[in-house]
């Protein structure tokens, strides 16, 4: 594969999947198509299994098809149990959620998130979806990861308009970069091989450590095959409308 062929959509899905660790309890929620795909991709592409739970109540489901809605009940097909909303939140607050994926509109250099409003909360320019899982899950999960389909100084900011969730993401994936938390701040782990450290720096609103950063490893054949199988007709990719630039 040529680096230029690696689309933003595939970059995010695969790099989110790479955060999943063997044997760990990993959760994907509402409004989270890319994490849903990442979890399903990891099940297909990696030898080591993990415990996949999702907001539809599914536990290691075998969905008959991949739904557009990441909370679709199809995601509980062939599940041997329904692990409902109260249950997975409690699992998280008692400290046994290894990895959760959470959405974020703005992310700051400490990995905190704004999901609430652009502008003043009380007089918002844009009212965003809101707190969701974050304010409770981000500080209580062992690790939380997020993604942004736009890498810009509007989304990766020096200062959040509102701090919906505190606690700091373990990992953040954009179309051109992967950040991980190091010493309480987001550090660049790798950049899209078709981008560059300089581009990432220019398009990021917060300062970050890049000393250990390098180009992201290209997708393996298995990662590519798994994603292709999940998005056979390319609808997820086209719906997501993710551009590198």
């Amino acid at each position: 594969m040529n680096a230029n062929e690696w689309t933003g959509f595939s970059y995010i899905a695969i790099n989110l999947a790479r955060f999943i660790r063997p044997g760990e309890i990993t959760f994907s929620g509402v409004n989270s198509t890319l994490p849903m795909l990442a979890c399903l991709l990891a099940k297909k592409a990696y030898d080591d299994d993990f415990i996949y739970i999702n907001v539809a109540g599914g536990v290691d489901p075998k969905p008959s098809h991949i739904p557009l809605s990441s909370s679709d009940p199809v995601l509980a097909e062939q599940s041997a149990s329904i692990f409902a909303n109260e249950d997975f939140y409690d699992l998280c607050t008692r400290g046994r959620m290894d990895l959760t994926f959470l959405g974020a509109a703005q992310i700051d250099g400490e990995g905190c998130a704004n999901n609430s409003a652009i502008g003043d909360w009380h007089k918002p320019k844009v009212r965003l979806p809101g707190g969701g899982g974050g304010a409770v899950m981000l500080p209580t999960a062992k690790r939380a990861c997020t993604w942004r389909t736009e890498h810009s100084t509007r989304t990766l900011v020096e200062k959040l308009d509102f701090r919906t969730s505190w606690g700091g993401f373990h990992g953040v994936v954009t179309p051109i970069a992967v950040f991980v938390k190091r010493d309480g701040r987001l550090a660049l782990q790798s950049w899209h091989p078709a981008a560059s450290l300089e581009e990432v720096r220019l398009r990021t609103g917060f300062s970050f450590d890049s000393r250990q950063a390098e180009p992201t490893a290209l997708p393996t054949a298995r990662e590519r095959a798994a994603l292709a199988a999940l998005d056979a007709d390319g609808q997820f990719e086209s719906d997501a409308r993710i551009a590198l630039r």
């Binding site: 409004n31 909303n85 909360w121 809101g130 969701g132 919906t164 606690g167």
Partner: protein, 276 residues
């Protein structure tokens, strides 16, 4: 209001069921986003021109959007609001909040659940894990209490949230109003325990004997249910597992601008077509 509901005559037409709800009521709505929401009930609220409603739901979408669009909503207590399923933000909800015509009490989903738990458990407040560092806490003037036993960290406590009604779309009820759902019950269970009254819209009735064969699967026992209606496909344009999935073109048509689009959408609903 009695502690429990019993006796016959509790199966009503949808219009009668909705007529029970006074203007100004607070209402927890079951389901999540486009999945198994009490959407026929919500549309009937609009037809009956209910006003000043307080809507309580961890993850509303279509329901809160259409209610805001029709001007029925005074207050929203919610965790995350979106259409989902690739439809993005809920535009009419967004407009209502941005313009101030509806008031938002923003929650994390789990803090809303904590408030419902407090009501369900009969306690004034419920501690909730997490929350620290979130600006939502000060927004809502939530309190953080130290552990009086000196062992744990201070914990945020959420005041009780007791809806007047929990409104649930069920897969099936029996003739008494016992409720079962297929798949996840989302937050329906805790809503039914927190609310003063439970109103149910179900896809169908089945014989009580079916329920008695696996009573463990009943989510809400009949005596919590004040009244119920049968509306096949009542969760349209959302899904009701495993009977039907989201009707994406219908959601798209709903999202078109203008009063016409809304009227057309309301007229196309299964609870109307059923009657016609």
């Amino acid at each position: 209001m009695p502690s429990g509901f019993s006796g016959t005559g509790r199966q009503l037409a949808l219009s009668e069921l909705v007529a029970k709800v006074p203007n100004g009521s607070s209402m927890a709505l079951g389901g999540s986003f486009l999945h198994r929401g009490p959407f026929a009930f919500v549309r009937e609220l609009i037809r009956q021109k209910k006003k000043d409603l307080e809507i309580i739901k961890q993850s509303p979408g279509y329901d809160i959007d259409i209610l805001c669009r029709a001007g029925c909503v005074r207050k929203v207590r919610a965790g995350i609001v979106a259409m989902e399923g690739n439809f993005g933000l809920a535009p009419y909800y967004r407009k209502a909040i941005e313009s101030g015509t509806a008031q938002l009490e923003e929650h994390a989903c789990a803090t809303l659940t904590a408030g419902l738990r407090a009501a369900a458990f009969g306690i004034p407040f419920q501690p909730c894990g997490g929350v620290h560092g979130s600006d939502i806490a000060s927004l809502n003037d939530w309190k953080c209490l130290p552990d009086p036993y000196g062992k744990g960290d201070p914990v945020w406590v959420i005041p009780a949230i007791q809806p007047d009604y929990a409104v649930i779309h069920a897969s099936e009820v029996d003739e008494l109003g016992n409720v079962r759902v297929s798949g996840t019950y989302h937050w329906d269970r805790i809503m039914s325990r927190a609310a003063k009254s439970v109103l149910v819209v179900a896809e169908r009735t089945v014989d009580s004997g079916v329920f008695a064969a696996t009573p463990e699967a009943t989510v809400v026992p009949y005596f919590m249910v004040e009244a119920f209606s049968i509306v096949p496909s009542g969760a349209w344009p959302g899904s009701c597992w495993p009977a039907y999935e989201i009707d994406y073109p219908a959601v798209e048509a709903y999202l078109e601008a203008g009063e016409d689009a809304l009227a057309k959408h309301l007229a196309a609903a299964p609870e109307v077509k059923e009657k016609a």
